[in-house]
Symmetry: C2
Subunit: 261 residues, 2 copies
Protein backbone atom coordinates (compact mmCIF):
# COMPACT_ATOMS: atom_id res chain seq x y z
CA UNK A 1 0.00 0.00 0.00
CA UNK A 2 2.32 2.71 -1.24
CA UNK A 3 -0.38 5.35 -1.53
CA UNK A 4 -2.50 5.13 1.57
CA UNK A 5 -6.17 5.66 0.78
CA UNK A 6 -7.85 8.73 2.21
CA UNK A 7 -11.07 7.97 4.01
CA UNK A 8 -14.33 9.87 4.32
CA UNK A 9 -16.57 8.52 7.05
CA UNK A 10 -20.33 8.99 6.85
CA UNK A 11 -21.81 8.31 10.28
CA UNK A 12 -20.81 8.76 13.91
CA UNK A 13 -22.56 5.84 15.56
CA UNK A 14 -21.19 2.68 17.10
CA UNK A 15 -19.45 1.20 14.07
CA UNK A 16 -18.21 4.57 12.79
CA UNK A 17 -16.75 5.43 16.19
CA UNK A 18 -14.82 2.18 16.61
CA UNK A 19 -13.74 2.15 12.98
CA UNK A 20 -12.48 5.72 13.03
CA UNK A 21 -10.31 4.94 16.07
CA UNK A 22 -8.89 1.87 14.38
CA UNK A 23 -8.12 3.76 11.17
CA UNK A 24 -6.47 6.58 13.07
CA UNK A 25 -4.39 4.24 15.22
CA UNK A 26 -3.17 2.48 12.09
CA UNK A 27 -2.07 5.63 10.33
CA UNK A 28 -4.93 5.89 7.86
CA UNK A 29 -6.06 9.46 7.33
CA UNK A 30 -9.75 10.20 7.74
CA UNK A 31 -10.38 13.46 5.93
CA UNK A 32 -13.92 14.14 7.06
CA UNK A 33 -16.65 12.78 9.30
CA UNK A 34 -20.32 13.38 8.66
CA UNK A 35 -23.12 13.14 11.19
CA UNK A 36 -26.55 14.80 11.13
CA UNK A 37 -25.63 15.72 14.68
CA UNK A 38 -22.80 18.24 14.30
CA UNK A 39 -21.72 17.86 17.92
CA UNK A 40 -21.23 14.11 17.48
CA UNK A 41 -19.32 14.64 14.23
CA UNK A 42 -17.14 17.24 15.92
CA UNK A 43 -16.38 15.12 18.97
CA UNK A 44 -15.32 12.20 16.82
CA UNK A 45 -13.43 14.34 14.32
CA UNK A 46 -11.41 16.02 17.06
CA UNK A 47 -10.19 12.66 18.33
CA UNK A 48 -8.78 11.62 14.99
CA UNK A 49 -7.82 14.90 13.38
CA UNK A 50 -10.59 14.96 10.78
CA UNK A 51 -13.01 17.66 9.61
CA UNK A 52 -16.55 17.43 10.91
CA UNK A 53 -19.65 18.25 8.89
CA UNK A 54 -23.40 17.84 9.16
CA UNK A 55 -24.02 18.73 5.52
CA UNK A 56 -24.14 15.88 3.02
CA UNK A 57 -23.84 18.31 0.13
CA UNK A 58 -20.43 19.45 1.34
CA UNK A 59 -18.54 16.19 1.46
CA UNK A 60 -15.00 16.47 0.17
CA UNK A 61 -14.18 15.05 -3.27
CA UNK A 62 -10.62 14.28 -2.17
CA UNK A 63 -11.45 10.87 -0.62
CA UNK A 64 -10.34 7.52 -1.97
CA UNK A 65 -12.77 5.35 -0.01
CA UNK A 66 -16.09 6.65 1.34
CA UNK A 67 -17.30 4.49 4.23
CA UNK A 68 -21.03 4.81 4.83
CA UNK A 69 -21.63 3.57 8.38
CA UNK A 70 -25.25 4.50 8.96
CA UNK A 71 -28.39 2.53 9.83
CA UNK A 72 -29.36 -0.06 7.22
CA UNK A 73 -32.52 1.82 6.32
CA UNK A 74 -30.62 5.05 5.64
CA UNK A 75 -27.89 3.67 3.36
CA UNK A 76 -29.74 4.14 0.07
CA UNK A 77 -30.93 7.63 0.93
CA UNK A 78 -27.46 8.76 2.00
CA UNK A 79 -25.98 7.25 -1.16
CA UNK A 80 -28.40 9.18 -3.33
CA UNK A 81 -27.40 12.39 -1.62
CA UNK A 82 -23.75 11.59 -2.29
CA UNK A 83 -24.35 10.77 -5.95
CA UNK A 84 -22.66 14.01 -6.95
CA UNK A 85 -19.35 12.46 -5.88
CA UNK A 86 -19.56 9.39 -8.09
CA UNK A 87 -16.71 8.92 -10.49
CA UNK A 88 -14.25 6.30 -11.62
CA UNK A 89 -11.80 6.79 -8.81
CA UNK A 90 -13.83 7.01 -5.66
CA UNK A 91 -15.01 3.80 -3.96
CA UNK A 92 -18.18 3.78 -1.85
CA UNK A 93 -18.74 1.05 0.73
CA UNK A 94 -21.20 0.44 3.54
CA UNK A 95 -20.51 -1.47 6.76
CA UNK A 96 -23.73 -3.42 7.07
CA UNK A 97 -23.98 -7.18 7.43
CA UNK A 98 -27.63 -7.20 6.49
CA UNK A 99 -27.58 -5.08 3.33
CA UNK A 100 -26.53 -6.30 -0.13
CA UNK A 101 -23.97 -4.19 -1.96
CA UNK A 102 -26.57 -3.68 -4.69
CA UNK A 103 -28.21 -1.06 -2.48
CA UNK A 104 -25.77 1.26 -4.32
CA UNK A 105 -26.82 0.12 -7.80
CA UNK A 106 -27.52 2.97 -10.18
CA UNK A 107 -26.01 5.51 -7.80
CA UNK A 108 -22.26 4.86 -7.82
CA UNK A 109 -19.97 3.26 -10.37
CA UNK A 110 -17.59 1.78 -7.81
CA UNK A 111 -19.13 0.32 -4.72
CA UNK A 112 -18.75 -2.47 -2.24
CA UNK A 113 -18.93 -3.50 1.39
CA UNK A 114 -16.52 -3.15 4.30
CA UNK A 115 -18.16 -5.19 7.08
CA UNK A 116 -16.40 -5.61 10.43
CA UNK A 117 -18.13 -8.65 11.93
CA UNK A 118 -18.32 -7.95 15.63
CA UNK A 119 -20.77 -6.88 18.32
CA UNK A 120 -19.80 -3.32 19.17
CA UNK A 121 -20.67 -1.53 22.40
CA UNK A 122 -20.11 2.19 22.57
CA UNK A 123 -18.40 2.01 25.96
CA UNK A 124 -16.18 -0.98 25.29
CA UNK A 125 -12.97 -0.55 23.31
CA UNK A 126 -12.99 -2.69 20.16
CA UNK A 127 -9.92 -4.82 19.56
CA UNK A 128 -9.59 -5.03 15.79
CA UNK A 129 -6.87 -7.67 16.14
CA UNK A 130 -9.79 -10.01 16.73
CA UNK A 131 -12.37 -8.52 14.40
CA UNK A 132 -12.77 -10.17 11.00
CA UNK A 133 -13.39 -7.71 8.19
CA UNK A 134 -15.43 -8.92 5.25
CA UNK A 135 -14.78 -7.05 2.02
CA UNK A 136 -16.55 -7.02 -1.32
CA UNK A 137 -16.47 -4.77 -4.35
CA UNK A 138 -18.66 -4.80 -7.43
CA UNK A 139 -15.66 -4.44 -9.74
CA UNK A 140 -13.01 -7.06 -9.12
CA UNK A 141 -10.16 -4.64 -9.81
CA UNK A 142 -11.19 -2.50 -6.84
CA UNK A 143 -11.06 -5.26 -4.22
CA UNK A 144 -7.30 -4.85 -3.73
CA UNK A 145 -7.47 -1.35 -2.30
CA UNK A 146 -10.27 -2.39 0.06
CA UNK A 147 -8.48 -5.58 1.13
CA UNK A 148 -5.34 -3.58 1.85
CA UNK A 149 -7.31 -1.15 3.97
CA UNK A 150 -8.85 -4.05 5.89
CA UNK A 151 -5.48 -5.74 6.39
CA UNK A 152 -4.09 -2.50 7.74
CA UNK A 153 -6.47 -2.60 10.71
CA UNK A 154 -7.13 -6.34 11.17
CA UNK A 155 -5.15 -9.54 10.60
CA UNK A 156 -8.40 -11.32 9.73
CA UNK A 157 -9.84 -10.30 6.39
CA UNK A 158 -12.15 -12.25 4.13
CA UNK A 159 -13.55 -11.68 0.67
CA UNK A 160 -17.26 -12.29 1.15
CA UNK A 161 -19.90 -11.76 -1.51
CA UNK A 162 -23.46 -10.59 -0.84
CA UNK A 163 -24.87 -14.10 -0.58
CA UNK A 164 -22.18 -15.24 1.84
CA UNK A 165 -22.69 -12.13 3.93
CA UNK A 166 -26.42 -12.89 4.15
CA UNK A 167 -25.43 -16.34 5.44
CA UNK A 168 -23.08 -14.84 8.01
CA UNK A 169 -25.73 -12.42 9.22
CA UNK A 170 -28.24 -15.18 9.91
CA UNK A 171 -25.61 -17.38 11.58
CA UNK A 172 -24.45 -14.42 13.68
CA UNK A 173 -27.95 -14.03 15.11
CA UNK A 174 -27.79 -17.60 16.39
CA UNK A 175 -24.29 -17.47 17.86
CA UNK A 176 -24.50 -13.94 19.24
CA UNK A 177 -28.03 -12.58 19.79
CA UNK A 178 -29.66 -15.90 20.63
CA UNK A 179 -26.87 -17.23 22.83
CA UNK A 180 -26.78 -13.93 24.74
CA UNK A 181 -30.51 -14.35 25.31
CA UNK A 182 -29.85 -17.82 26.72
CA UNK A 183 -27.33 -16.24 29.08
CA UNK A 184 -30.07 -13.83 30.13
CA UNK A 185 -32.47 -16.72 30.75
CA UNK A 186 -29.77 -18.41 32.81
CA UNK A 187 -29.40 -15.27 34.90
CA UNK A 188 -33.17 -15.02 35.31
CA UNK A 189 -33.41 -18.63 36.49
CA UNK A 190 -30.58 -17.98 38.97
CA UNK A 191 -32.28 -14.86 40.27
CA UNK A 192 -35.59 -16.65 40.70
CA UNK A 193 -33.79 -19.49 42.51
CA UNK A 194 -31.77 -17.18 44.74
CA UNK A 195 -28.40 -18.12 43.30
CA UNK A 196 -25.53 -15.83 42.32
CA UNK A 197 -25.21 -15.75 38.49
CA UNK A 198 -21.45 -15.29 38.98
CA UNK A 199 -21.25 -19.02 39.61
CA UNK A 200 -22.18 -19.61 35.96
CA UNK A 201 -19.89 -17.04 34.38
CA UNK A 202 -16.81 -19.31 34.24
CA UNK A 203 -18.97 -21.99 32.61
CA UNK A 204 -20.02 -19.52 29.92
CA UNK A 205 -16.39 -18.58 29.39
CA UNK A 206 -15.26 -22.19 29.04
CA UNK A 207 -18.17 -23.13 26.75
CA UNK A 208 -17.02 -20.58 24.22
CA UNK A 209 -13.29 -21.08 24.79
CA UNK A 210 -13.81 -24.69 23.72
CA UNK A 211 -15.34 -23.78 20.36
CA UNK A 212 -12.49 -21.43 19.53
CA UNK A 213 -10.41 -24.48 18.63
CA UNK A 214 -13.01 -27.23 18.30
CA UNK A 215 -16.20 -27.85 16.36
CA UNK A 216 -19.27 -27.16 18.52
CA UNK A 217 -20.77 -30.50 17.49
CA UNK A 218 -17.83 -32.27 19.14
CA UNK A 219 -18.16 -30.24 22.35
CA UNK A 220 -21.87 -30.86 22.99
CA UNK A 221 -22.68 -32.27 26.44
CA UNK A 222 -25.72 -32.42 28.69
CA UNK A 223 -28.92 -34.39 29.21
CA UNK A 224 -30.34 -33.83 25.70
CA UNK A 225 -27.15 -35.07 24.05
CA UNK A 226 -26.97 -38.23 26.15
CA UNK A 227 -30.71 -38.89 26.07
CA UNK A 228 -31.00 -38.56 29.85
CA UNK A 229 -34.80 -38.53 29.99
CA UNK A 230 -34.93 -38.47 33.81
CA UNK A 231 -32.90 -35.26 34.08
CA UNK A 232 -34.80 -33.62 31.23
CA UNK A 233 -38.09 -34.41 32.97
CA UNK A 234 -36.77 -33.02 36.26
CA UNK A 235 -35.77 -29.80 34.48
CA UNK A 236 -39.16 -29.49 32.78
CA UNK A 237 -40.85 -29.93 36.15
CA UNK A 238 -38.61 -27.22 37.54
CA UNK A 239 -39.68 -24.86 34.74
CA UNK A 240 -43.38 -25.74 34.85
CA UNK A 241 -44.41 -22.23 35.99
CA UNK A 242 -42.12 -20.47 33.50
CA UNK A 243 -43.79 -21.52 30.28
CA UNK A 244 -41.59 -19.38 28.01
CA UNK A 245 -38.40 -20.91 29.34
CA UNK A 246 -40.02 -24.36 29.23
CA UNK A 247 -40.94 -23.93 25.55
CA UNK A 248 -37.36 -22.99 24.70
CA UNK A 249 -36.03 -25.87 26.79
CA UNK A 250 -38.28 -28.35 24.99
CA UNK A 251 -37.55 -27.11 21.47
CA UNK A 252 -33.77 -26.99 21.91
CA UNK A 253 -33.74 -30.35 23.69
CA UNK A 254 -35.74 -31.91 20.84
CA UNK A 255 -33.37 -30.42 18.27
CA UNK A 256 -30.27 -31.60 20.14
CA UNK A 257 -31.74 -35.09 20.49
CA UNK A 258 -32.43 -35.19 16.77
CA UNK A 259 -28.90 -34.01 15.97
CA UNK A 260 -27.13 -36.64 18.07
CA UNK A 261 -29.53 -39.57 18.01
CA UNK B 1 -6.43 -26.31 57.57
CA UNK B 2 -3.78 -27.64 59.96
CA UNK B 3 -4.68 -31.25 59.40
CA UNK B 4 -5.11 -31.78 55.69
CA UNK B 5 -7.98 -34.13 54.93
CA UNK B 6 -7.18 -37.45 53.29
CA UNK B 7 -9.24 -38.16 50.23
CA UNK B 8 -10.66 -41.37 48.82
CA UNK B 9 -11.88 -41.00 45.25
CA UNK B 10 -14.60 -43.26 43.90
CA UNK B 11 -14.63 -43.05 40.12
CA UNK B 12 -12.11 -42.53 37.33
CA UNK B 13 -14.18 -40.65 34.76
CA UNK B 14 -14.04 -37.09 33.57
CA UNK B 15 -14.71 -35.30 36.86
CA UNK B 16 -12.65 -37.75 38.94
CA UNK B 17 -9.69 -37.39 36.60
CA UNK B 18 -9.63 -33.58 36.63
CA UNK B 19 -10.35 -33.44 40.35
CA UNK B 20 -7.62 -35.91 41.25
CA UNK B 21 -5.08 -33.82 39.36
CA UNK B 22 -6.21 -30.65 41.09
CA UNK B 23 -6.05 -32.27 44.52
CA UNK B 24 -2.61 -33.67 43.84
CA UNK B 25 -1.24 -30.39 42.51
CA UNK B 26 -2.50 -28.62 45.62
CA UNK B 27 -0.86 -31.01 48.03
CA UNK B 28 -3.95 -32.92 49.09
CA UNK B 29 -3.30 -36.62 49.53
CA UNK B 30 -5.58 -39.01 47.68
CA UNK B 31 -5.21 -42.36 49.44
CA UNK B 32 -7.10 -44.55 47.04
CA UNK B 33 -8.91 -44.46 43.71
CA UNK B 34 -11.68 -46.86 42.81
CA UNK B 35 -12.88 -47.74 39.34
CA UNK B 36 -14.71 -50.86 38.16
CA UNK B 37 -12.07 -50.80 35.44
CA UNK B 38 -8.82 -51.63 37.27
CA UNK B 39 -6.67 -50.35 34.43
CA UNK B 40 -8.31 -46.93 34.58
CA UNK B 41 -7.97 -46.82 38.36
CA UNK B 42 -4.33 -47.80 38.08
CA UNK B 43 -3.49 -45.24 35.40
CA UNK B 44 -5.02 -42.44 37.42
CA UNK B 45 -3.59 -43.65 40.74
CA UNK B 46 -0.07 -43.80 39.30
CA UNK B 47 -0.25 -40.15 38.28
CA UNK B 48 -1.09 -38.95 41.75
CA UNK B 49 0.57 -41.48 44.00
CA UNK B 50 -2.61 -43.20 45.17
CA UNK B 51 -3.62 -46.84 45.53
CA UNK B 52 -5.89 -48.23 42.85
CA UNK B 53 -8.70 -50.70 43.46
CA UNK B 54 -11.67 -52.14 41.60
CA UNK B 55 -13.21 -53.66 44.73
CA UNK B 56 -15.76 -51.52 46.58
CA UNK B 57 -15.56 -53.83 49.59
CA UNK B 58 -11.87 -52.99 50.07
CA UNK B 59 -11.99 -49.24 50.37
CA UNK B 60 -9.70 -47.89 53.07
CA UNK B 61 -11.24 -46.66 56.32
CA UNK B 62 -8.42 -44.11 56.73
CA UNK B 63 -10.05 -41.42 54.61
CA UNK B 64 -11.43 -38.10 55.87
CA UNK B 65 -13.52 -37.22 52.82
CA UNK B 66 -14.86 -39.80 50.38
CA UNK B 67 -15.60 -38.21 47.01
CA UNK B 68 -18.04 -40.23 44.95
CA UNK B 69 -17.61 -39.06 41.35
CA UNK B 70 -19.68 -41.59 39.43
CA UNK B 71 -22.66 -41.34 37.09
CA UNK B 72 -25.76 -39.86 38.71
CA UNK B 73 -27.64 -43.14 38.43
CA UNK B 74 -24.91 -45.08 40.23
CA UNK B 75 -24.45 -42.80 43.26
CA UNK B 76 -27.03 -44.49 45.51
CA UNK B 77 -25.86 -47.98 44.64
CA UNK B 78 -22.22 -47.13 45.26
CA UNK B 79 -23.15 -45.46 48.55
CA UNK B 80 -24.97 -48.57 49.73
CA UNK B 81 -21.92 -50.67 48.99
CA UNK B 82 -19.81 -48.25 51.02
CA UNK B 83 -22.21 -48.23 53.96
CA UNK B 84 -19.75 -50.35 55.98
CA UNK B 85 -17.53 -47.25 56.22
CA UNK B 86 -20.13 -44.97 57.74
CA UNK B 87 -19.19 -43.43 61.02
CA UNK B 88 -19.11 -40.09 62.80
CA UNK B 89 -15.80 -39.00 61.35
CA UNK B 90 -15.91 -39.79 57.66
CA UNK B 91 -17.66 -37.42 55.27
CA UNK B 92 -19.20 -38.73 52.05
CA UNK B 93 -19.86 -36.36 49.15
CA UNK B 94 -20.86 -36.71 45.53
CA UNK B 95 -19.91 -34.36 42.68
CA UNK B 96 -23.21 -34.23 40.83
CA UNK B 97 -25.07 -31.07 39.95
CA UNK B 98 -28.28 -32.96 39.24
CA UNK B 99 -28.52 -35.11 42.38
CA UNK B 100 -29.78 -33.94 45.78
CA UNK B 101 -27.57 -34.72 48.75
CA UNK B 102 -30.44 -36.74 50.16
CA UNK B 103 -29.48 -39.55 47.81
CA UNK B 104 -27.26 -40.56 50.77
CA UNK B 105 -30.09 -40.48 53.33
CA UNK B 106 -30.23 -43.55 55.50
CA UNK B 107 -26.83 -44.76 54.31
CA UNK B 108 -24.30 -42.34 55.82
CA UNK B 109 -24.40 -40.13 58.90
CA UNK B 110 -22.24 -37.38 57.40
CA UNK B 111 -22.82 -36.53 53.82
CA UNK B 112 -22.86 -33.65 51.39
CA UNK B 113 -21.97 -32.44 47.93
CA UNK B 114 -18.74 -31.22 46.36
CA UNK B 115 -19.81 -29.95 42.94
CA UNK B 116 -17.26 -28.35 40.59
CA UNK B 117 -19.44 -26.41 38.15
CA UNK B 118 -17.68 -26.69 34.84
CA UNK B 119 -17.89 -28.49 31.51
CA UNK B 120 -15.04 -30.98 31.58
CA UNK B 121 -13.46 -32.57 28.53
CA UNK B 122 -11.15 -35.49 29.07
CA UNK B 123 -8.49 -34.11 26.70
CA UNK B 124 -8.56 -30.50 27.87
CA UNK B 125 -6.75 -29.53 31.07
CA UNK B 126 -9.13 -28.07 33.64
CA UNK B 127 -8.09 -24.79 35.21
CA UNK B 128 -9.52 -24.88 38.72
CA UNK B 129 -8.60 -21.23 39.22
CA UNK B 130 -11.72 -20.57 37.17
CA UNK B 131 -13.94 -23.41 38.37
CA UNK B 132 -16.49 -22.56 41.06
CA UNK B 133 -16.94 -25.30 43.63
CA UNK B 134 -20.34 -25.61 45.27
CA UNK B 135 -20.29 -27.27 48.67
CA UNK B 136 -23.03 -28.54 50.93
CA UNK B 137 -23.14 -30.78 53.99
CA UNK B 138 -26.12 -32.19 55.82
CA UNK B 139 -24.63 -31.30 59.20
CA UNK B 140 -23.63 -27.66 59.46
CA UNK B 141 -20.57 -28.40 61.54
CA UNK B 142 -19.06 -30.43 58.71
CA UNK B 143 -19.19 -27.67 56.08
CA UNK B 144 -15.92 -26.14 57.25
CA UNK B 145 -13.73 -29.09 56.32
CA UNK B 146 -15.38 -29.30 52.89
CA UNK B 147 -15.13 -25.55 52.30
CA UNK B 148 -11.44 -25.65 53.22
CA UNK B 149 -10.87 -28.45 50.76
CA UNK B 150 -12.67 -26.49 48.03
CA UNK B 151 -10.70 -23.33 48.81
CA UNK B 152 -7.49 -25.29 48.56
CA UNK B 153 -8.09 -26.01 44.87
CA UNK B 154 -10.24 -23.06 43.74
CA UNK B 155 -10.55 -19.39 44.70
CA UNK B 156 -14.27 -19.57 43.90
CA UNK B 157 -16.27 -21.53 46.43
CA UNK B 158 -19.95 -21.25 47.25
CA UNK B 159 -22.20 -22.82 49.86
CA UNK B 160 -25.11 -24.07 47.80
CA UNK B 161 -27.98 -26.15 49.13
CA UNK B 162 -29.84 -28.83 47.18
CA UNK B 163 -32.53 -26.48 45.94
CA UNK B 164 -30.03 -23.89 44.74
CA UNK B 165 -28.00 -26.59 43.02
CA UNK B 166 -31.11 -27.73 41.16
CA UNK B 167 -31.52 -24.14 40.01
CA UNK B 168 -27.91 -23.97 38.86
CA UNK B 169 -28.21 -27.22 36.97
CA UNK B 170 -31.20 -26.01 34.95
CA UNK B 171 -29.57 -22.63 34.30
CA UNK B 172 -26.35 -24.35 33.23
CA UNK B 173 -28.21 -26.26 30.54
CA UNK B 174 -29.31 -22.95 29.03
CA UNK B 175 -25.97 -21.17 29.18
CA UNK B 176 -23.81 -24.15 28.27
CA UNK B 177 -25.59 -26.99 26.44
CA UNK B 178 -28.10 -24.84 24.61
CA UNK B 179 -25.71 -22.05 23.66
CA UNK B 180 -23.22 -24.62 22.37
CA UNK B 181 -26.02 -26.04 20.24
CA UNK B 182 -26.65 -22.56 18.82
CA UNK B 183 -22.95 -22.39 17.96
CA UNK B 184 -23.39 -25.69 16.14
CA UNK B 185 -26.39 -24.32 14.24
CA UNK B 186 -24.31 -21.27 13.33
CA UNK B 187 -21.59 -23.55 11.97
CA UNK B 188 -24.15 -25.57 10.03
CA UNK B 189 -25.63 -22.45 8.45
CA UNK B 190 -22.13 -21.31 7.49
CA UNK B 191 -21.31 -24.68 5.98
CA UNK B 192 -24.55 -24.71 3.97
CA UNK B 193 -23.81 -21.17 2.78
CA UNK B 194 -20.18 -21.91 1.88
CA UNK B 195 -18.70 -19.59 4.50
CA UNK B 196 -15.80 -20.28 6.86
CA UNK B 197 -17.14 -20.65 10.45
CA UNK B 198 -13.84 -19.14 11.64
CA UNK B 199 -15.26 -15.72 10.72
CA UNK B 200 -17.79 -16.12 13.54
CA UNK B 201 -15.43 -17.40 16.23
CA UNK B 202 -14.28 -13.93 17.38
CA UNK B 203 -17.93 -12.89 17.63
CA UNK B 204 -18.63 -15.85 19.90
CA UNK B 205 -15.64 -14.96 22.02
CA UNK B 206 -16.70 -11.32 22.38
CA UNK B 207 -20.35 -12.22 23.10
CA UNK B 208 -19.28 -14.14 26.15
CA UNK B 209 -16.46 -11.82 27.15
CA UNK B 210 -19.08 -9.09 27.48
CA UNK B 211 -21.22 -11.01 29.95
CA UNK B 212 -18.23 -11.72 32.19
CA UNK B 213 -18.54 -8.18 33.52
CA UNK B 214 -22.02 -7.12 32.38
CA UNK B 215 -25.57 -8.39 32.71
CA UNK B 216 -26.65 -10.24 29.54
CA UNK B 217 -29.88 -8.24 29.45
CA UNK B 218 -27.82 -5.08 28.99
CA UNK B 219 -25.71 -6.62 26.23
CA UNK B 220 -28.57 -7.82 24.01
CA UNK B 221 -28.42 -6.61 20.41
CA UNK B 222 -29.87 -7.72 17.09
CA UNK B 223 -33.07 -7.53 15.04
CA UNK B 224 -35.36 -9.12 17.66
CA UNK B 225 -34.22 -6.68 20.34
CA UNK B 226 -34.78 -3.60 18.17
CA UNK B 227 -37.97 -4.89 16.59
CA UNK B 228 -36.44 -4.89 13.11
CA UNK B 229 -39.25 -6.77 11.37
CA UNK B 230 -37.70 -6.44 7.90
CA UNK B 231 -34.46 -8.15 8.89
CA UNK B 232 -36.31 -10.84 10.84
CA UNK B 233 -38.46 -11.58 7.78
CA UNK B 234 -35.38 -11.75 5.56
CA UNK B 235 -33.78 -14.23 7.96
CA UNK B 236 -36.93 -16.36 8.09
CA UNK B 237 -37.01 -16.42 4.29
CA UNK B 238 -33.38 -17.47 4.31
CA UNK B 239 -34.21 -20.37 6.65
CA UNK B 240 -37.40 -21.44 4.89
CA UNK B 241 -35.98 -24.81 3.84
CA UNK B 242 -34.44 -25.54 7.25
CA UNK B 243 -37.57 -25.82 9.32
CA UNK B 244 -35.79 -26.87 12.54
CA UNK B 245 -33.56 -23.81 12.51
CA UNK B 246 -36.55 -21.65 11.53
CA UNK B 247 -38.59 -22.92 14.48
CA UNK B 248 -35.76 -22.06 16.87
CA UNK B 249 -35.28 -18.67 15.21
CA UNK B 250 -38.98 -17.87 15.60
CA UNK B 251 -39.30 -18.98 19.20
CA UNK B 252 -36.17 -17.17 20.42
CA UNK B 253 -37.07 -14.04 18.45
CA UNK B 254 -40.54 -14.01 19.99
CA UNK B 255 -39.11 -14.44 23.46
CA UNK B 256 -36.54 -11.67 22.96
CA UNK B 257 -39.25 -9.35 21.61
CA UNK B 258 -41.38 -10.05 24.65
CA UNK B 259 -38.44 -9.42 26.99
CA UNK B 260 -37.53 -6.04 25.54
CA UNK B 261 -40.83 -4.71 24.21
Amino acid sequence: MKNLPKIVLIGAGNVATHLSQALYENGIQVLQIFSRNLQKATELALQINAQPTNDLSKITDKGTIYIIAVHDDAIREVAEQLAYLKGEKRLFVHTSGATPSTVFKGVFKNYGVFYPLQTFSIDRKANFQNIPICTHTKKKNRIKILEELAQRISPKTYKINDQQRATLHVAAVFVNNFSNHLFHIGEQICEDGNVDFDILRPLIQETTAKVQSNRPIEMQTGPAKRGDVKTIQRHLDYLKDQSHFKDIYELLTANISKTYQ
